[in-house]
Symmetry: C2
Subunit: 240 residues, 2 copies
Amino acid sequence: MEQPGEIKKVSMAVIKRLPKYYKCLGELLRKNVERVSSQELSKLLGFTASQIRQDLNNFGEFGQQGYGYNVSQLYNEVAKILGLTTSHKMVLIGAGNLGQALANYSGFATHGFNIIAIFDTNPSIVGRKIRDIPIYHVDDMEYFINSNDVDIAVLAVPGDVTEKIVEVLVNTDIRGIWNFTPTEINVSNKDITVENVHLIDSLLTLSYRINESWLRERLLKQEGKNTKFPHRKKMSFMVK
Amino acid sequence: MEQPGEIKKVSMAVIKRLPKYYKCLGELLRKNVERVSSQELSKLLGFTASQIRQDLNNFGEFGQQGYGYNVSQLYNEVAKILGLTTSHKMVLIGAGNLGQALANYSGFATHGFNIIAIFDTNPSIVGRKIRDIPIYHVDDMEYFINSNDVDIAVLAVPGDVTEKIVEVLVNTDIRGIWNFTPTEINVSNKDITVENVHLIDSLLTLSYRINESWLRERLLKQEGKNTKFPHRKKMSFMVK
DNA sequence: CCCCGCTTGTTATTAATTTAACATAAATAT
DNA sequence: ATATTTATGTTAAATTAATAACAAGCGGGG
């Protein structure tokens, strides 16, 4: 069933839960809680105890029967899994509204993610600083990234220049792109990981769920799924 | 199998894809493409044609055999499903870095989401405006929301005041909360929908995936899953 | 020292989601 | 007209994820 050297792929569903574990364990640690069972975690997180045990077993055996998990140890293990043992250097690209907000936000640094430079094209801000972080011209970005061991590029530029920036980034040693632009990024055949933050999608999802109750009524009125929407009776000609 | 009046619940997996359909169809519409098949959509979106047909059939029969979908009609249907036929009034709570960035972002308005007021407690900004949007004191929020038919509250306050704000919001006619704070919101037994945007989670997920290759090596070195981490040999006593 | 209860890691079961298959109907070409 | 192609809506199969079940190991108490 399982080849000796083969490692089972961790599903995205599990990966998405890892930050929740990490944050929850961090809180327990700050409260000086020493041990925790999967059942206790279940109550705190809202996942089933079974799921928690199975999630963690993707990465190792961190607990002990009859005891549970040592909070401090498990926290450290999850931190390792998430790659938080070393700090990460980031550059921020785009110092518009969102970019400035990200630059000013101190929450990332507490987890070891530090913005060490900002890049923009606007001559009125290039040369200035945000919270001691220097703003350079985008033209200097490629050189800077390669010579400063930057891990992550935070992309907060307008959608229409995304492609141009990505073209530059794929020629650098960057490992990940945190993409706040509305443009989807496809980096094929490169070992660059992309994480998209599409705020509009999130808002539209919220809108759907707000609208859902009304939608149900509409569907009911139509007698369920068997309603036809014959959108055209006849069409003289058609453009491909 | 299916009761006459019963409506099958639309899964979250489907809902999360709706914005992608909406955006893709919008682009086709702007390019004056008149018709599109599930196969063509498949290429554009990266989902299988089968999945697209099944997703859409959750809401009705919008296509025609041998023809495909009329782009304009399908776009309008998806817009209806997402609740985008009427515009939405939003209030922004918290005019810090992120709040200001959100207030300045014009992208929401193009989809009919308008921030009509901002609330904060900082006396140095209360009374001022951002892009013509007035900033009021949080104390006036409850009254404002109820008397102005506000649909959505955008929450961009520090995590430690989230609870206080939510306590006020549940007493209003608000329909949805778009939560940018790191604090999870649980509105039990209320018809308020919450959408969380946890940026830190997103960053940690990115970090995991960047770290993944290294992690695989580590797991391999340990000979897969059979490695024990005996975290304690002996423990004299224990604090619950 | 030994038993009892607790809690893990893992296997089995169930549920959900995705993909494939196909019967059917419209559109186009002959 | 008629045949052929196209592409849907829907049912079936396969895959993936979540939950439940349980054997085995550790801790605590007598």
